[in-house]
């Protein structure tokens, strides 16, 4: 293969790993929207908290398992935090207008951002990979960073688990039912409040997981919350808000546009997805995979 092929293939893999992080994030966002019709601006904050927690837990739990323990501990912690937020705050505003819901979660973004600054300070943090993850692996005659392949498999695993959960369990049926007809689920005798809490905890679990997964690949810093959330919204809208598979499709488009866009216009690769998002909102407001019933926000 030529060097150019090799470059394209490398960009493909890095785009795919970026897409998987976005998918893990956007699927949580879209799940909450589908069930509770609430847009959570603070979703990116859970991601940032997740990354910082991953730093702390790998720091405290040194040793061969410390790194992997983070993937288990961090999402559980962010999910507990999410549960507290849902019960204490979000639950009070489900019946209010969307503007107020957005403002409340927007307020949370500010609170979390300063809370992280209080706890971890303003210094950049790094999580180092275990040696066997830091290297590269050979795939189809090309060398790839092992960690990219790990993120891709993690995203794939999440997609499969999500599919099984939504299509093969009773709980998944409830979630799909609530997305179609929220009142009906309540009328059938299922405790809607508990459903919302669980879904919100699942979403913040995913947010924390994405944060823990990205932690070794970037410099952990304040501001990573608002950076990712704008992209996540766009991804969720491109795919169709409330639709998990739309989030997957949107994330793949965003990841690829970024990693190939960077070859063409390195400085502005970040902007492409927002332009596409703007076009999609105007041309096809329900998103690529959304149904028309889902648009009434």
């Amino acid at each position: 293969m030529t060097a150019f092929d090799s470059l394209l293939f490398a960009q493909f893999v890095s785009g795919l790993s970026r897409a998987m992080i976005l998918f893990i994030m956007a699927s949580g966002l879209t799940l909450v929207f589908g069930v509770a019709r609430v847009i959570n601006f603070a979703h990116g904050s859970f991601y940032m908290v997740g990354a910082y927690l991953a730093y702390t837990s790998t720091f405290l739990l040194a040793g061969p398992f410390g790194f992997w323990a983070a993937f288990l501990i961090v999402p559980i912690l962010t999910s507990i935090l999410g549960g507290v937020v849902e019960v204490a705050l979000l639950r009070r505003i489900y019946e209010k207008e969307h503007l107020l819901q957005m403002l409340l979660t927007f307020g949370l973004v500010f609170v979390f951002s300063d809370a992280v600054r209080m706890i971890w300070g303003v210094d950049l943090r790094m999580v180092s990979l275990p040696s066997y993850m830091a290297g590269s692996v050979n795939l189809l005659g090309h060398q790839f960073p092992a960690y990219h392949l790990f993120i891709i498999s993690l995203g794939g695993a999440i997609a499969i688990v999500m599919w099984l959960m939504l299509n093969r369990t009773k709980f998944g049926k409830l979630i799909r039912g609530a997305a179609e007809h929220r009142e009906m689920v309540g009328l059938l005798g299922y405790p809607a409040n508990r459903l919302f809490t669980i879904v919100f905890m699942m979403a913040t679990f995913l947010g924390g997981l994405a944060g823990a997964a990205i932690a070794p690949a970037v410099r952990i810093s304040l501001g990573m919350d608002t950076e990712i959330i704008a992209e996540c919204f766009t991804v969720a809208i491109i795919g169709g808000l409330g639709n998990v598979w739309g989030a997957l499709l949107g994330a793949l488009i965003a990841g690829m546009m970024y990693s190939f866009g960077i070859l063409v216009l390195p400085n502005y690769a970040m902007a492409f997805i927002f332009i596409l998002g703007g076009i999609i909102i105007v041309v096809r407001p329900n998103g690529l995979l959304g149904k028309s019933s889902q648009i009434k926000v």
Partner: protein, 334 residues
Amino acid sequence: MNTETMNPAREEKEHPKKKGVRWPVWSTLGLLLVLLPFILEKGVSSYYLFLTVKVLIWVLFATSFNLVLGYGGMMSLGHAAFFGIGAYTCALLLVKASCPPVLAMLAGPLAAAIAGMIAAFFSVRVQGAFYFATITIAFCQLAYTAAFKWRSLTFGDDGVQGIPVPAFISTEASYINLYFFALAVTVLCLYVVWRIVKSPYGLLLRALKEDPVRATFIGMKGQQYRFIAFVTSAFFAGIAGVLYAFLETSVAPDILSWTFSGEVVLMSVLGGMNLFLGPAVGAAIMILLSSFVTSYMKYWLFTMGTILILIVLFCPKGVGGLVLDKYRAWTKGE
């Protein structure tokens, strides 16, 4: 014309006592606003005068923003873009092109209005607060990326430094000239916005916000009305941006980030977005509080977020709405 010149000063503090208060009160307020800078500078410190000018700028920004949020029912999170484009255009024309100050000042709001047209072209078609918010965030991110990455034009993350402030509002010796300039501009702009929201068009806009479906059925051109409101609002936000550039004498990409828009949203909600002067009250509270809080601790965002959450949960009408309700209950009780 005499009463006309009094009017702007009236708007400044009119709320909440709309009726029953006569001209002596307004002329006293006007006199106070004229004397204020001298009192502050001689009696307290020039920092407070700087802060007062900042309040004026944010009063203008928040009021212009509320034309979109409170009157138009559009949740824009992209208004930082128009504020920033106004500031950047003026600053770059002065620094890079040595353009005459008056032209640069006019170019700022015009550029903001043109950007507003582009953003509105896409956004007014969209139904739903969240979609509207996202599309305006996306627009804001584009403007931010441009300011951040287009180094040859915008100086990137260094920002534009050392903006030459025109001599007649020079801030080198004192902020008094800039204060009067900002006061005149803000009062005039508030008066224009006031006339807009009280005009038949303003009423149509509100009808459209309250019940878009019915308003459309009786023949209102919803997209067109929203477009006009959005562009007008962007224009005035651009004016606030120009004033900001003169006050700070530097601009950085931060003022284009979508979280910066969040502050103006917070001001409107804090003061009360259903009242004309609500956002102005919110802006004054926020700027003064921010200066107060940051002198004691560095966690201003935490404070701001907590205020926002408390307002949403317990006082969605805002401080202005609360005061007005109390005042009405009190006058009825009399």
